[in-house]
């Protein structure tokens, strides 16, 4: 477990400089598009993840990681665990944008927690598609994969309101706070975790036997 912590710490040391610039940029953009601050919450986490992953496959850096006294599954596990701090940073930044909006009087609406958490929860889901491709393609295919995922995030950004129009029931269900749908939430949550776990197993299978 300590190894995972140090591997995540390594990702933050690697991306430290980009991170400050990225978050500053995101907060300025987020503040200027305050009406849709929630849907853009996916950006910083996804960018941080892609940045850290790209740095790991550049040059011979994977050889360095594999030379460390760690089993390979630890390297994969740490990447999945790093989703938590990335998501937390995304959440914090989005909240700061909202608070800035409130402080300057640009918004008076209460924060939409459910929508915000749902968007944040989409990040691990997206990463669960990303990771197996990342481990499978390595350095050669990563630029294409990164581009595709960035496009997905950017296309998804304006697409969310149209999903709302097409499937109003979905958003009604999300917004309903009745206790009788706890079971549905539980099933959804289990399916969500199961999906991430399956992605982890696939990544593990790809990476554990891969020649570096």
């Amino acid at each position: 477990m300590y190894s995972s912590f140090y591997l995540i710490r390594k990702d933050f040391i690697l991306t430290r400089k980009y991170l400050l610039l990225l978050l500053l940029f995101y907060m300025v953009i987020g503040y200027s598009n305050l009406e849709s601050y929630i849907v853009s919450a996916l950006f910083p986490s996804m960018l941080m993840l892609m940045n850290a992953c790209s740095l790991d496959v550049q040059h011979n850096n994977q050889r360095f990681l594999v030379s460390l006294p760690l089993p390979r599954h630890q390297l994969v596990l740490a990447k999945y665990l790093s989703l938590l701090p990335y998501a937390a940073i995304s959440l914090t930044c989005t909240l700061l944008i909202y608070l800035a909006g409130v402080a300057t009087g640009r918004t008076i609406e209460p924060i939409a927690w459910r929508e915000l958490l749902l968007v944040i929860a989409c990040f691990p889901l997206l990463a669960s598609f990303y990771f197996p491709l990342y481990y499978w393609l390595g350095q050669k295919g990563m630029q294409i994969v990164n581009m595709i995922f960035m496009m997905l995030v950017m296309i998804g950004y304006p697409a969310i309101p149209s999903v709302n129009k097409k499937f109003p029931g979905l958003f009604d269900w999300i917004n309903s706070a009745t206790t009788d749908n706890i079971l549905l939430w539980a099933i959804g949550g289990m399916a969500y975790l199961f999906f991430i776990y399956c992605s982890y197993l696939i990544s593990l299978r790809v990476f554990v036997k891969k020649d570096i």
Partner: protein
């Protein structure tokens, strides 16, 4: 005398190259030089030992334990110096060390600082801005700072200036003084091995040619120089490899006693250098393709 590394029937196939049935033992407490021409399979073999590449067949044991099952524990006892930079280029030396140190159970900060000073490593300089020699020095400082029982070095002396090259060889000799530490290093430069290696492993075209004590090698092989008239069909078969010129030939024989008996009175018989053994073995194998 136990084997720190034991390879049994190791094979690996690539598109245009294959390592075939490599079985050898690396002795604990000694320096072993891994030699062979470009593309012979030295780096592939080191990568397999480091768990970076998986063999198609065969078994690897390190410190008497199965390497595939005990990789993490084994690597904690290995210092690895790569032929290429494997560190994050945009990080500074200090940050890179911060990344590496926590993973090793026996990391010794004082030792690292000692080597940082000795090698004049600038902590604030980015890895990408270091020269090839400085990168090797940093790798070495890291490898020596976690109490590694086994140093595995892939072409550590290539690109180094002669002064540091000598210093490095002296450092390696000092490192194995307690007779518990072992070193494996691959090189093209056989003169490095003439200075410090106890054992020589020679690989050519993915096959093990020999794994012998350096001292016994020169007793085993014989370099013969003579006139071309000596070379009839039967005599040619005695040689591992022959180089013919307009006036004569020189060739390597694998059986010194037999060679001396045959050529003692008709040709010049000399003790071959490691480079000559390597050269004629490779030349001989090319001739038989």
């Amino acid at each position: 005398m136990s084997d720190v590394i034991k390879l049994q029937g190791l094979s690996k196939s690539y598109d245009r190259f294959a390592l075939r049935d490599i079985s050898l033992g690396i002795k604990e407490g000694y320096i072993t030089g891994l030699i062979g021409p470009n593309g012979a399979g030295k780096t592939s073999l080191i990568k397999m030992i480091m768990g970076m590449v998986y063999p198609d067949q065969g078994d690897i044991q390190l410190f008497g334990k199965n390497h595939l099952q005990q990789q993490a524990a084994n690597k904690d006892r290995i210092g690895y110096v790569s032929d290429e930079n494997i560190y994050y280029e945009h990080l500074t030396v200090k940050d890179m060390k911060r990344v590496i140190a926590p993973f090793y159970t026996r990391w010794d900060e004082k030792t690292y600082l000692k080597y940082q000073e000795k090698f004049k490593l600038p902590p604030g300089k980015k890895i990408k801005d270091l020269s090839k020699g400085m990168k090797i020095k940093f790798s070495l400082a890291v490898a020596l700072s976690h109490g590694a029982d086994l140093l595995i070095m892939d072409e550590p002396t290539s690109g180094l200036d002669p002064i540091f090259r000598r210093e490095l060889l002296e450092l390696l000799s000092e490192h194995i003084q307690d007779e518990k530490k072992s070193i494996v290093f691959s090189t093209h430069n056989t003169s490095d091995l003439d200075r410090i290696a106890d054992y020589i492993v020679f690989i050519n075209e993915g096959r093990l040619v020999f794994n012998e004590m350096r001292e016994t090698l020169t007793e085993k092989y014989l370099l013969v120089k003579g006139g071309r008239e000596l070379l009839d069909r039967d005599v040619r078969h005695m040689f591992i490899g022959i180089r013919e010129t307009g006036v004569g030939f020189e060739g390597l024989i694998g059986n010194r006693v037999e060679g001396e008996r045959y050529f003692k009175d008709t040709a010049i018989c000399e003790m071959p250098t490691l480079e000559e053994i390597m050269y004629f073995t490779v030349k001989g194998s090319e001739a038989h393709v």
